[in-house]
């Protein structure tokens, strides 16, 4: 639900006077920036296996991160303990990067300007008690087993979390965000003539759990997981070598995340360690390709009302008609590069430093009919679903691994092929895109991005595209 109201005022879990004294003692007068980040998060998870919901768990995380920034240097300290002594010690440790000097004048903490909230500020598990969640998982298990006798094992997991975030900036400005996140995952193992295969499907976002438990969405995920597992039973060996590849819409957008998204993050470009560092304004993709990072889509898994520095999120155009136009920026890297923060400063939790990160990264639709794109393949791979991916932002080499793919000959889909890794170079691959479908889709809400040991939820999206040449890591030569 999109509202124009800020979340209801939430009381700070720490006394205002304490925070004011931590802030004042934290920040030397010549600091460029600094803030306090106070978090209280709860999460709950139920998991079914072997027909039983026997893994039920919950966790509560609370703590404060204190940060001081001076030039290219940053001091961070994290504590789980909310007593005065521990908080003051955290402030002192974070200040260690700055030379001694006078502190800023005492500031008073005051509410920041309300921002547009992209999700409801309520715990997403409210209204769906543990028993209802358990019943749902049992129904999904029964459904999976009823769909095909070859279904051997069913794993179903429903999880939800609610994070209450308070950011107190150097000037005392207090920004609050309350972030719901839910996720449902189904995975099955099937067996035929002693051969086993697996398939999985998931979905979620920043909305109430009741959305996932009501209606047909959960059942669709079960059908999808079973379909994929059975399909893979018949998968042939994948060809090995360089060939044209057509990517289906939605989650295959992981291509963008790996091939260009990470390479456009501000820290790598300020430091010159990204292959894209000197390419602003240059052609990095074929004409017709526009790629955006958009953190403002209501209720998406990768969306945030404000980033973890309190900057409102944005729709940032990274590539416009094939030309590199934008980087993803947190405040520190933006300041050092003389650019604007784009609302991409994110941290996994109070116990992690802020890094420039993606939100929802996708390519805008083109004009081609998806069927024509598949039909254009003389001999190649049509890949519709993927597992994970990874990139080396310095050499630009990236990989992503198929979980549903087909061998295509003479424009016709021939048979499914086994999971294979596709490898390319980020600064080259989008220049080899020759067709762009009119069928942009966003992923179902399953992406998690890892960087510097931190995981954050993200989204991706893609229309069907044709890449003229990509290396396919099969076993068939």
């Amino acid at each position: 639900m999109l509202t124009n109201n800020s979340p209801p005022p939430c009381p700070l879990p720490i006394a205002l006077e304490t925070l004011q004294s931590v802030l004042s003692s934290l920040l030397p007068a010549h600091a460029d920036d600094g803030d306090l980040y106070i978090e209280h998060s709860t999460s709950e998870s139920l998991a079914l296996e072997e027909g039983r919901v026997k893994h039920v768990s919950a966790s509560t995380h609370q703590g404060m991160g204190a940060r001081v920034i001076k030039g290219e240097s940053a001091g961070h300290a994290f504590t789980d303990c909310f007593d005065h002594g521990a908080l003051m010690q955290a402030g002192k440790s974070a200040r260690a990067i700055a030379e001694s000097g006078s502190s800023i004048a005492p500031v008073s903490i005051h509410s920041g300007k309300p921002t547009t909230s992209l999700y409801q500020a309520v715990n997403p598990s409210d209204g769906v008690d543990f028993l209802q969640r358990k019943t749902l998982l049992e129904e999904l298990d029964a459904l999976a087993r009823s769909l095909d006798p070859r279904v051997l094992q069913v794993f179903a997991n429903v999880s939800s979390s609610f994070s209450d975030i308070h950011i107190i900036r150097m000037d005392g400005c207090h920004i609050h965000d309350a972030r719901p996140l839910v996720r449902l995952n189904i995975s099955v193992v099937v067996e035929q003539n002693g051969k086993r295969e697996t398939g999985s499907a998931g979905g979620g976002g920043r909305f109430a759990l009741s959305r996932l438990t009501a209606g047909d969405q959960a059942k669709r995920l079960v059908r999808e997981a079973v379909r994929l597992a059975l399909l893979n039973l018949d998968a042939h060996d994948t060809p090995a070598g360089s060939m044209p590849v057509v990517l289906g819409p939605g989650w295959p957008g992981i291509l963008l995340h790996e091939a260009i998204g990470h390479g456009l993050e501000g820290d790598f470009n300020r430091k010159g360690s990204s292959v894209f560092a000197d390419k602003m304004g240059q052609r990095v993709a074929a004409k017709g390709i526009t790629v955006v990072d958009d953190g403002t889509i209501p209720e998406r898994r990768g969306s945030l009302s404000v980033d973890d520095e309190g900057t409102a999120t944005n729709r940032t155009v990274l590539i416009e008609d094939g030309i590199l136009t934008g980087y993803l920026m947190d405040k520190q890297n933006a300041r050092l590069m003389g650019m604007q923060a784009t609302g991409n400063g994110r941290r996994e939790s109070y116990a992690h430093p802020v890094l420039p990160r993606m939100t929802n990264t996708f390519m805008l639709a083109g004009n081609d009919n998806p069927d024509d794109i598949i039909a254009s393949l003389d001999r190649g791979i049509y890949a519709v679903n993927f597992g994970g991916g990874q990139v080396d932002i310095t050499s630009g080499k990236f990989v992503f691994t198929t979980s549903e793919a087909y061998y295509v000959e003479n424009g016709k889909i021939q048979y499914p092929v086994k999971g294979a890794t596709l490898i390319g170079a980020g600064h080259e691959v989008l220049q080899k895109v020759s067709m762009i479908g009119n069928d942009l889709e966003l992923d179902p809400g399953v992406g998690t991005c890892g960087k510097g040991g931190q995981s954050v939820p993200v989204g991706v999206g893609l229309p069907t595209i044709r890449i003229d040449d990509l290396t396919v890591g099969g076993t068939e030569t």
């Binding site: 039920v56 703590g63 007593d83 597992g387």
Partner: protein, 460 residues
């Protein structure tokens, strides 16, 4: 209230008592308090200083189901105030009541706990509460390491910085059968990452080492030279033709094979039929010169432990001897279900359910140097880098991005990049031709170079 090693015993027993009052029959708890410091240096300047002060308690409670049998749930919190602990105890019992009973559930009592004397002897032997660094010493090491790496060659064009980290951790485990044990761990690490070349021809590489004590770390010079020489050696890579090839995994990449093995012999994955080795117990899955052990008390291993996440005493597990798979890794529940001996492999963090993991994994080395291996295979690829996650745990199908060096006429020729290597782990394990004498430790695992035949390369 905060958690200190002195208060852990009290807080754990308070928590166990509270859970029992709410109706739990059996309870166990794990408490952790960590402090850590790290400093990053880039281009000779301090890039960041970090200080961590973390604490938390995880609780597992078993209740008797009205229908019979035991059901359980787990919960954790970093709020260790009296009211926070009470809330945690109440929450976990309420959750256990909705959890489904399992006829094979094993309560955390009656485990093969180590005795008091063993505990004391262990604590005396593994007295690790200080990593031997303060921020100034760590800063000096990082500065030196980064400077040496940047100065290594004129081809080094940029730096991603050097990190020096140190910290200690206090861990306590308590269960409602009266077992209580605590121990302290400390470690220090030093790493550096540099870039060679410019523009579209940049190559990055790194080196890293971690030890119980800063005095045991590789020198800043050793780490700097490893990172910088690797980055420069990667410059100007080519591709190669697709086809079948002999492959040598150097220790840095061979360690991932050890990871795939441990994932596949995880007893829970075996029970769930999600492992390509589920039906391979007592079979020869490697050639007969392969021996792999899970060693809980090794002088070089950072994974040493006296007891596992359920308080079970850890013993040496000969996972693979003469190529044969001897055991799956099991906690008490999995051991009961699989009808095998416990292996002391319960691994437990504060959050989530108990998992299964190894202590120190050691792949016993062979007699050939890596150079001998290269010369004896003649043609193939030395794999120094793997990226991506293309491994299917159920089937063993394997396809990953890779980089390394072409081997021609028994010698290293030029660097290759942008290739994939593919096969099936079962075949890869069976097709190991040679293992090196270059046993290398990576924290809690140690592995030599490994040569495998019959894998497929995809390149041009």
């Amino acid at each position: 209230m905060s958690l200190t090693i002195n208060s852990i015993a009290d807080q754990s027993s308070q928590l166990i008592e509270a859970a029992k009052q709410y109706g739990a029959i059996h309870v166990d708890a794990l408490a952790v308090c960590d402090t850590g410091d790290s400093i990053s240096i880039r281009n000779g300047q301090v890039e960041s200083v970090e200080r961590e002060d973390a604490q938390g308690i995880g609780l597992r409670a078993f209740v008797e189901s009205p229908a019979g049998g035991l059901a359980f749930a787990t919960a954790s919190s970093s709020d260790v105030s009296e009211s926070g602990l009470k809330k945690l105890a109440k929450q976990v019992v309420a959750m256990a009541r909705i959890s489904e009973p399992d006829p094979d559930a094993v309560p955390p009592v009656g485990a093969n706990h180590p005795g008091m004397d063993e505990l004391k002897a262990w604590q005396a032997k593994h007295n690790r509460s200080d990593a031997g660094w303060n921020l100034e010493l760590a800063k000096a090491a990082a500065l030196e390491c980064e400077q040496l790496a940047r100065d290594y060659s004129s081809l080094i064009s940029n730096s991603e910085g050097a990190d020096a980290c140190f910290g200690n951790s206090s861990v306590a485990y308590a269960s409602s059968d009266g077992f209580f044990a605590e121990y302290a761990k400390a470690s220090a690490s030093l790493s550096v990452s540099v870039i060679a070349g410019t523009g579209e021809h940049m190559q990055r590489d790194y080196a890293w080492h971690r030890a119980f004590h800063a005095d045991d770390l590789h020198s800043p010079q050793t780490i700097a030279e490893e990172a910088a020489s690797r980055a420069t050696a990667r410059l100007n890579p080519g591709s190669m033709e697709s086809g079948e090839s002999m492959i040598i995994f150097e220790p840095r990449t061979a360690t991932s094979l050890l990871g795939h093995l441990v994932g596949a012999i995880n007893g829970r994955s075996v029970l769930q039929q999600r492992s390509f080795l589920a039906d391979s117990l007592n079979q020869s899955i490697f050639p007969d010169f392969i021996n792999i052990e899970d060693h809980p008390d090794h002088p070089d291993g950072l994974g040493n432990r006296l007891f596992d996440g359920e308080g079970t005493r850890c013993t040496l597990n000969n996972i693979i001897s003469d190529g044969k798979l001897n055991t799956f890794l099991a906690d008490r529940y999995v051991a009961k279900r699989l009808g095998q001996a416990e292996t002391g492999s319960a691994s437990r963090g504060l959050t989530g359910d108990i998992g299964i993991g190894s202590s120190n994994l050691i792949w016993q080395p062979g007699n050939s140097t890596q150079a001998d291996m290269i010369s004896s295979i003649g043609h193939g690829v030395l794999i120094t880098e793997l990226i991506g996650f293309g491994v299917n745990a159920v089937t063993g199908d394997y396809s990953r991005g890779a980089g390394g060096f072409l081997i021609n006429d028994g010698k290293i020729s030029h660097p290759v990049q942008g290739i994939t290597i593919a096969g099936n782990l079962k075949d890869m394990f069976a097709n190991i031709e040679l293992i090196g004498s270059d046993l290398t430790w990576f924290g809690s695992s140690a592995v030599p170079s490994i040569a495998i035949s019959g894998m497929t390369i995809a390149g041009e």
